[in-house]
């Protein structure tokens, strides 16, 4: 078809055609239609003008009108050409696909050399795809690798969620605050992504035996991040009362009247608040030994900061040495 065009209009048209100013399908040129725009389909990379695309593909998928190309094209996939050289256009598309799958960075590898080897392998894969060498095998390996990567990410995610569940289990299900905190930390963990920590942990990976398409030397194993501890606003201090338990009801004379008094109840008064308040006031200060604290403070003041921090740390761990009931 292009032969016919060049025969009809001579050398000047041929040059024009080489410049890409004549649509190979409808033969209209930029001279006739100054706003002509060309489209390509990444399926076969044949150029044609926009009006041809509209004309041929508006009723659904059709075969490419270029002689010798029988691929079925869809209108939606036509797009503007970015590069002048269609070979480069195709190469870049392939690269885009490869880059999506092969997305390791230098920090994923043990040494720079391993990373460079990896880069070279990636380049070779890309070349195989571009030059259509071993297309089947390469595609298959690429797919395997993609799946393996996906599986790896998933397994990490599952370990994370498993840990999450176990963590939730250990905490008292009754405690509302704990659950809220855990939810929050789960969100934080997701935002952190799977590649933040890389300390190897046995058992985290179980997909190693499967065929992953490629093996790269020196690739660090993807490891699930350490699960975060639930957030504790009191820094490990036990806020549960130690010397008493608040009961639902106390059968004491001097409050029995108040329990049913309409005046109190109308204001939303709850007798249990009174109980806890009264008990707290009664027991606060128990287990607080001022002398010991003074000695401890003096020790701290004498500059032994290390000891101070150590005691603080043990306290934070929830040790029983210092009992602090006095939350007020």
């Amino acid at each position: 078809m292009s032969k016919a065009a060049s025969r009809a209009n001579g050398a000047s048209t041929k040059r024009l055609a080489e410049d890409g100013d004549i649509c190979p399908v409808c033969k209209s040129s930029r001279y006739l239609n100054p706003n002509m725009r060309f489209r390509v389909n990444p399926e076969c990379y044949h150029r044609m003008c926009e009006s041809c695309v509209d004309r041929i593909f508006s009723h659904g998928p059709a075969a490419c009108p270029i002689a010798g190309c029988k691929r079925t094209l869809r209108r939606a996939r036509f797009r503007e050409q970015t590069f002048e050289d269609l070979k480069v256009e195709r190469e870049v598309d392939i690269r885009k696909r490869v880059a999506r799958v092969m997305n390791k960075t230098e920090s994923d590898f043990e040494t720079l050399r391993d990373y460079n080897n990896y880069l070279e392998t990636v380049e070779e894969i890309t070349w195989n795809l571009i030059l259509k060498i071993d297309l089947e095998a390469t595609e298959k390996r690429l797919r395997l690798w993609e799946e393996a990567q996906k599986a790896e990410v998933e397994s990490i995610n599952s370990t994370v969620s498993r840990r999450l569940h176990t963590a939730t289990d250990t905490v008292d299900p009754q405690s509302d605050t704990a659950r809220v905190i855990l939810k929050k930390s789960g969100v934080q963990r997701k935002a952190l992504g799977p590649s933040s920590a890389n300390t190897p942990e046995p058992g985290a990976m179980d997909t190693g035996l499967k065929d992953t398409g490629f093996t790269f030397a020196g690739l660090k194993k993807r490891v699930a991040p350490e699960p975060e501890k639930p957030f504790d606003p009191y820094g490990g201090w036990n806020i549960e009362p130690q010397y008493y338990t608040v009961m639902d009801d106390y059968d004491v004379d001097f409050i029995s009247g108040a329990k049913t008094d309409v005046h109190h109840l109308a204001g939303g008064y709850d007798i249990r608040d009174f109980y806890s308040r009264a008990l707290c006031e009664a027991f606060s200060g128990f287990g607080v030994f001022v002398e010991e604290e003074v000695i401890a403070r003096e020790n701290q003041a004498s500059g032994d900061v290390g000891v101070g921090t150590q005691t603080a740390a043990t306290v934070a761990d929830g040790g029983k040495e210092v009992n602090m009931d006095d939350i007020f």
């Binding site: 970015t82 590069f83 002048e84 050289d85 480069v88 190469e91 870049v92 690269r95 885009k96 880059a99 720079l112 050399r113 990373y115 460079n116 080897n117 990896y118 880069l119 070279e120 392998t121 990636v122 380049e123 070349w127």
Partner: protein
């Protein structure tokens, strides 16, 4: 004459020394002792080069460590002059000392100037000579010959290998002519002799570019040690040289050529794969190990140079995805295609390197890292492929250099894509400027590597601008003037015509009829009164052309024609040199001529109008740069942001250094005289930006003249100059014999700190405020000076002073 500066014996090859030369040498010595950089300004024609050389050579010979001198100058003729000067100095030293010192001084210039090969030297273009020379001298060509293949070799180059590698040429100073003669006699290549002898030289004289242009410096100046003394002579334009050496322009045409180059490379690789796959494999293995190893294989014949790379990069291995030759070629192709798409814009784009890189990555998946290795990888590939016709790959190399630069430097560079040549053009002709905004980048390695860098020129005012722009600190900053017994040059500022209308080249007024007429009158009047040559400088070719055509219409040129021959500079070098030749002839036969030229043209920079070749210089208008240029705007912005230099300050500094260059063209020595006219009302506010030596000669009463007043004082000045005058009158004040020098030294020792008078006597510049004060005590000073001239009753005088 032989004298001492502190403990250092200096042999000066002339019987008399100028006071400013002595002061200049003192400052140089101070710098060398302190081990830092310095900026020195001394008027042209006061023997800067010879004082520099004689002091540094004396310093070298006196101190056992023998620090090497690297003397960089701007043009070929200046380099030759310096070499001749050095030769004379060494001859004088030998005569005085009675024995020959072990000393080597060599100059280096391009292959074109130093080639002896019978067919290669006939080539006209420098790049062709380079390419042909490489094809005859490259290492692999020799290997081929050894393998028994039939290849041509350069005999001159081959003979070098038969000599001792550190003694290719006997000690002494070799001018270029001397080198060529010696090479012809001994059948050895002068170019490679100079290149290979550089580590064994005491003095090396070559062009700035060998040190500043990172592409060349890497090869030529690599082995120079840290304690070298580096001198940049004629350094007033050094910032522009630095910027040009790192800026790259790409056009569509050069990209097309680069594509062709890539395709050629591709073909060559395929060829080589079928014939000599081991070689490629070998290269590959080297690259796996790291660039440094590959680097070691490189010799002085390396083909293409890489731009300045940080050291860490050279130690690292080439990234894996450009390790294989075919991968790298595809990589280059992709990059060039990307550049082509970028060129298709219809509006001006200016972009920083990081933004360019991120867009590049989004579109073509080219990461920053392999891009940085681009130039180096290309060099390696070209070497492996043993390509000889390097000039075909020039555009490709440019693209690779661009890639490396843009990925190496995040700041100090800007990418500007201009789709149209001018504002009115409708056919796109895109050009991609990758422009360096920071002059300090190119010169930084020089300041860092060498302990003493001396930046000197005839016009460097204001002195503090250079350290700020080039980002270095200096230990000595000094400006010298010419010590004179009579006023030999008369600077004047003309700000209005005889009709009291202003004279200016301001854009809004430059084409007003009265401005053009006043400029015309100025030209006519000075052509009438000047005895021989008149040189006129305009701010631009465009303005010169328009004003000449207007003068033609109003009869100005006819009037001038009665007195002088009129000659015009054009952008064409051949035409200009013809005009210059005619101009000189006209001046020689007594009629005189007027040369109309441009302040930023070739004439203003390199041509001297000594004695009768230039008696009057007229600077018509302030020679500002073309401020609408986007590159200039970007640079101004950068200077303001980074170095806190205001736009207007820089523009006016730049204009004034060019004006000063123009004015300096006519005074080339102490017995030369001339009139300097600055014709623009705006010069009045810029007096402080002129070099000190012009400032000091510029009287307060000469700064606001009309044309007829200027004519009056010029006439009086010329009459004064026509009084017979002998050199003998200069003795004592503006030249010193040995006794006078010693007297001065003694006096100086007695004084401790220099006062204004002493600074003046030494030719150091003093502030204009100080000058004013001096005027009042002029009478007493004259007598004092006379007493100094005598020199016998010195002790008595010393006694007076101590009292």
């Amino acid at each position: 004459m032989k004298f001492f500066i502190d403990e250092l014996p200096v042999l000066f090859p002339y019987p008399r020394v100028y006071p400013e030369q002595y002061a200049y040498m003192c400052d140089l010595k101070r710098t060398l002792d302190a081990g830092g950089h310095c900026v020195l300004e001394m008027p042209s024609g006061t023997g800067k080069t010879v004082s520099l050389l004689s002091l540094i050579v004396a310093y070298q010979q006196f101190h056992p460590e023998m620090r090497k001198l690297i003397y960089c100058s701007r043009t070929m003729s200046e380099i030759e002059k310096a070499l001749a000067e050095l030769k004379g100095l060494m001859k004088y030293r030998t005569e005085q000392l009675g024995y020959e010192e072990e000393f080597r001084g060599l100059g280096l210039t391009s292959r074109k100037n130093l080639c002896l090969h019978p067919s290669v030297k006939r080539e006209k273009s420098g790049t062709v000579v380079d390419a042909r020379c490489r094809s005859l001298t490259a290492g692999f060509v020799k290997e081929k010959k050894e393998r028994g293949e039939d290849v041509e070799l350069c005999v001159y180059h081959e003979n070098l290998d038969l000599l001792e590698p550190h003694n290719l040429i006997p000690p002494g100073v070799w001018t270029f002519d001397g080198m060529l003669k010696y090479g012809e006699q001994h059948k050895q290549c002068p170019y490679f002799t100079a290149r290979r002898m550089m580590p064994f030289c005491n003095v090396i004289i070559y062009s700035y570019h060998y040190l500043l242009d990172p592409k060349i410096a890497e090869r030529v100046s690599k082995e120079l040690s840290k304690d070298c003394i580096v001198v940049f002579d004629e350094a007033h334009n050094i910032d522009n040289v630095c910027i040009e050496s790192l800026s790259i322009d790409l056009t569509e045409d050069s990209l097309r050529k680069a594509t062709r180059g890539v395709n050629n490379l591709d073909r060559k690789i395929t060829e080589m794969k079928s014939t000599d796959a081991a070689k490629l494999q070998n290269e590959y293995a080297k690259l796996v190990e790291g660039l440094r190893e590959a680097e070691e294989a490189r010799d002085e014949n390396a083909f293409m140079a890489n731009p300045a790379l940080p050291d860490d990069l050279l130690k690292e291995a080439v990234p894996g995805n450009i390790r294989r030759a075919e991968h790298f070629v595809a990589f280059l192709k992709r990059f060039i295609e990307y550049l082509k798409t970028r060129m298709k814009v219809l509006s001006v784009i200016s972009e920083t390197p990081p933004s360019f890189l991120s867009h590049l990555r989004d579109l073509t998946f080219i990461e920053r890292k392999p891009l940085r290795f681009c130039a180096e990888r290309l060099t390696s590939l070209v070497r492996t492929l043993e390509l000889t016709n390097i000039e075909d790959y020039q555009p490709l190399q440019e693209v690779a250099t661009f890639a490396t630069l843009i990925s190496t430097y995040e700041t100090g560079f800007l990418l500007i894509i201009e789709p149209f040549e001018s504002a009115t053009a409708t056919v796109p002709n895109p050009i991609l400027h990758f422009t360096c905004l920071d002059a300090a980048i190119a010169i930084k390695p020089v300041f860092e590597r060498f302990s003493s860098v001396i930046v000197t020129s005839g016009t460097m005012s204001p002195l503090d601008m250079y350290p700020r722009m080039l980002n270095f600190s200096c230990v000595v900053q000094e400006s010298f003037t010419m010590t004179l017994t009579r006023r030999t040059f008369l600077p004047m500022i003309v700000d209005r015509g005889s009709d009291q209308n202003q004279v200016t080249s301001q854009f809004e007024h430059r084409n007003d009829p009265q401005v053009v007429r006043n400029f015309g009158n100025l030209l006519i009047e000075f052509c009438k009164l000047t005895p021989d040559g008149v040189v006129v400088f305009f701010p631009s070719y465009l303005y010169m052309e328009s004003i000449i055509s207007m003068w033609q219409g109003s009869g100005v040129l006819d009037e001038v024609w009665k007195y002088k021959l009129i000659l015009v500079e054009t952008p064409d070098a051949v035409e200009t040199s013809l005009a210059l030749e005619t101009y000189r002839t006209a001046c020689n036969n007594g009629r005189g001529a007027v040369l109309l030229c441009v302040a930023r043209g070739k004439v203003s920079e390199g041509i001297d109008f000594d004695h009768h070749y230039g008696r009057t210089v007229l600077c018509m208008g302030v020679p500002y740069q073309y401020t609408e240029s986007r590159i200039l705007k970007a640079r101004l912005e950068f200077l303001r942001e980074t170095y806190r230099i205001k736009e207007s300050d820089f523009l006016s500094f730049d204009a004034m250094r060019h004006a000063a260059q123009c004015l300096g063209r006519v005074i080339r020595g102490k017995d030369d005289y001339g009139v300097m006219v600055l014709a623009d009302k705006r010069f009045g506010k810029k007096i402080t930006q002129l070099p000190k030596w012009i400032q000091m000669a510029l009287d307060g009463k000469n700064t606001k003249l009309s044309v007829d007043q200027a004519v009056g004082s010029a006439k009086a000045f010329l009459r004064e100059m026509s009084v017979p005058w002998t050199r003998g009158q200069m003795e004592g004040t503006s030249t010193w014999s040995l006794e006078e020098l010693e007297t001065h030294q003694k006096k100086q020792k007695g004084m401790g700190v220099l006062g204004v008078e002493e600074r003046r006597a030494e030719g150091r510049a003093v502030d204009v405020v100080m000058m004013e004060r001096r005027e009042t005590v002029e009478v007493t000073e004259v007598t004092e000076v006379d007493e100094f001239g005598g020199g016998e009753d010195m002790d008595a005088l010393m006694g007076d002073m101590d009292a």
